[in-house]
């Protein structure tokens, strides 16, 4: 029983990474209908840039600046490449383009920073277990939970109350009308993409403290994040968070009894959800159904 609780908590922590990534994915998907296969790449960019900046800005400084830079990279990618795909109705093209982008980013990371993992370190005072029996709750993991919660709440407030947020929300319902009302939807989509990539970069910085920093780390986090979006419901941000946490906990619990199935269970859950309730747990009836 104890082991189960431990694993559930661990799953929760892992789910936090999925939730962060899923938030970014869901943002991009719902407004621009772009399936961002390069999300893992922006995670890697965030992590590596933070690592490079840590000697200059310190851990906390890099934590802030790294994701911002990842967001800026996302903005640039959107302006140069993805913008041209909006007129095409088939989501295939954005999928393929971002797929190619993911390959390029992974290769660039390997070329610039080397193929071996880099020793990304967390400040000493955070890297201790908080208690002897519950030794797996380290200060750093609590910080991860805290930052994610803060950022998620911040996003919620942004979407709910700020002008940008209102426009994004309106855009996910009906982008044409928003444009007709005089809003610059190109800017809107660009900013949205940048915010989405900010989340990916943040996930990368946080993950590098736990998982280490390698060019291929984005891949393993990308697919579960898609699953989180689908399970939570395409078009719903809280659904993305919920989906991420859910599959994280499910994977954690499965590890207790049947470790080999811990990854497969994520996809199994997705299949079940898609078979029974395709719109996802919190999703709205969407055009894709």
């Amino acid at each position: 029983m104890e082991l189960l609780l431990f694993n559930a908590f661990n799953g929760l922590l892992q789910g936090v990474f999925y939730a962060l990534m899923a938030l970014g994915l869901a943002l991009i998907l719902s407004l621009s209908s772009v399936i961002n296969m390069a999300h893992g790449g922006f995670l890697v960019i965030g992590g590596y840039l933070a690592f490079t900046l840590t000697p200059h800005l310190g851990f906390w400084g890099a934590l802030v600046v790294g994701p911002l830079l990842a967001g800026v990279c996302g903005l640039v990618a959107e302006q140069t490449m993805i913008r041209h795909l909006y007129k095409r109705s088939d989501p295939l093209y954005s999928l393929l383009l971002t797929f190619g982008l993911a390959l390029i980013i992974q290769d660039l990371a390997r070329t610039v920073w080397g193929a071996e993992g880099l020793p990304s370190a967390v400040p000493e005072y955070l890297d201790q277990p908080l208690s002897s029996t519950y030794f797996f709750i380290t200060g750093y993991r609590v910080v991860i939970l805290g930052i994610t919660a803060a950022v998620a709440i911040g996003l919620y407030l942004l979407i709910r109350y700020s002008l940008l947020g209102i426009r994004i929300r309106a855009g996910t319902r009906d982008l044409e009308t928003v444009a007709a009302l005089g809003v610059n939807i190109y800017q809107l989509r660009a900013l949205n993409f940048g915010i989405g990539c900010f989340f990916a970069g943040l996930a990368g910085v946080l993950a590098s403290g736990v998982l280490g920093l390698t060019p291929t780390m984005g891949e393993s986090l990308l697919m579960p994040s898609f699953v989180a979006v689908i399970v939570g419901g395409v078009g719903s941000l809280s659904g993305a968070v919920l989906g991420g946490l859910l599959i994280g906990v499910a994977a954690g619990i499965t590890t207790t009894y049947y470790p080999s199935a811990s990854e497969a269970v994520i996809y199994f859950i997705m299949l079940v959800v898609l078979a029974i309730r395709p719109r996802g747990l919190l999703g709205k009836e969407s055009i894709f159904e």
Partner: protein, 320 residues
């Protein structure tokens, strides 16, 4: 005389040229400095992508998990040779049927979905099979892949055909031809035309009383069968298979090859496969950054040539 005949003439000539070239590959491949395993691989992947194209280009189903059936075919063939009987034809048959069966059983899950949901279900199925292959160590060899089997010589009555590089190429060509004939026949039939109709406007087809979900199911199953057949040949080509033959990155490569060559065209995927496989082979030998170049090819094709190479051939060419 109208445009149709001249067009048909051109196409007929192209087909003749193609088959002559394919039949004589072992003779001229050495002169261009390539190797016969690459030629076989191109045909194998070409068959896989043409199978994918049935679902993707002709029915409009965005399948991003086709590698699952490729891998099922590969593992089916490998496990047959390893555990059941040392017979190559049996291995091919078992592998292809296993893939077709898997596709048929899983079809109902996605026959009513479209767009991103369809794509995500195909990815999920692919990942499930991937993890089964990786974790079921005792049977599939797990992460290290399935080894310890070899393609066996085929008995033709008294004559024994040893499957060395060249003979195996002709076996691949033979299976490729069978696959092409099947696909050609299906595409020309009412089934194939229904698929094109579903691709163009699914709602209208439903209004016309067509059970579109059943047609999508059929498309999915047949595509799975053809891709599975290609998978068996791949396992026999390298006498090896591994979970990477099931991975979603391979699925993405397949989709890329189809788009590269032109997804509305019957021969488009083969063209795309030739270019992609040769590019990958060539680039990985000359530079460590070949992955960036492949990625750039993806980006360039999507942005500049979305209809693919054969798609730029004048008007829309449907079934041959």
């Amino acid at each position: 005389m109208n445009l149709q005949t001249a067009w048909a003439q051109r196409r007929y000539g192209f087909l003749v040229l193609l088959w002559v070239a394919l039949l004589t590959v072992p003779y001229w491949l050495g002169y261009v400095g390539s190797y016969s395993a690459l030629g076989s691989k191109i045909l194998v992947y070409g068959l896989a992508t043409m199978g994918l194209n049935l679902l993707f280009g002709f029915t409009g189903g965005l399948s991003f998990g086709q590698a699952a059936y490729f891998g099922i075919g590969a593992y089916g063939a490998g496990m047959t040779l390893k555990y059941i009987a040392p017979s190559t034809p049996l291995a091919i048959l078992v592998g292809a049927l296993a893939a077709g069966l898997a596709a048929t059983i899983l079809g109902p899950l996605l026959m009513r979905r479209r767009g991103i949901y369809f794509a995500m279900i195909t990815i999920a199925i692919g990942q499930l099979f991937y993890f089964v292959a990786v974790r079921w160590n005792n049977v599939t060899g797990g992460e290290d892949g399935l080894a310890g089997f070899e393609r066996q010589p085929i008995h033709f009555g008294h004559h024994l055909l040893v499957l060395d590089q060249i003979n195996f190429y002709y076996l691949v060509l033979f299976c490729f031809t069978i696959g092409v004939v099947i696909m050609h026949t299906v595409l020309r039939s009412p089934l194939g035309h229904a698929w094109v109709g579903i691709r163009e406007n699914r709602r209208r087809m439903e209004f016309l009383g067509v059970r579109t979900d059943l047609y999508v199911w059929a498309s999915f199953a047949i595509a799975g069968l053809i891709t599975g057949l290609a998978g068996t040949l791949n396992a026999l080509l390298f006498n090896f298979t591994s979970p990477q033959d099931l991975h979603w990155i391979l699925s993405g490569d397949f989709v890329m090859m189809v788009v590269l060559g032109g997804m509305r065209n019957f021969w488009g995927p083969l063209v795309g496969t030739v270019i992609f496989v040769v590019a990958q082979d060539y680039l990985s030998s000359i530079t460590n950054n070949w992955m960036s170049f492949i990625g750039m090819i993806f980006v360039a094709i999507v942005l500049l040539f979305p209809k693919g190479l054969l798609g730029m051939v004048g008007r829309n060419s449907g079934a041959p």
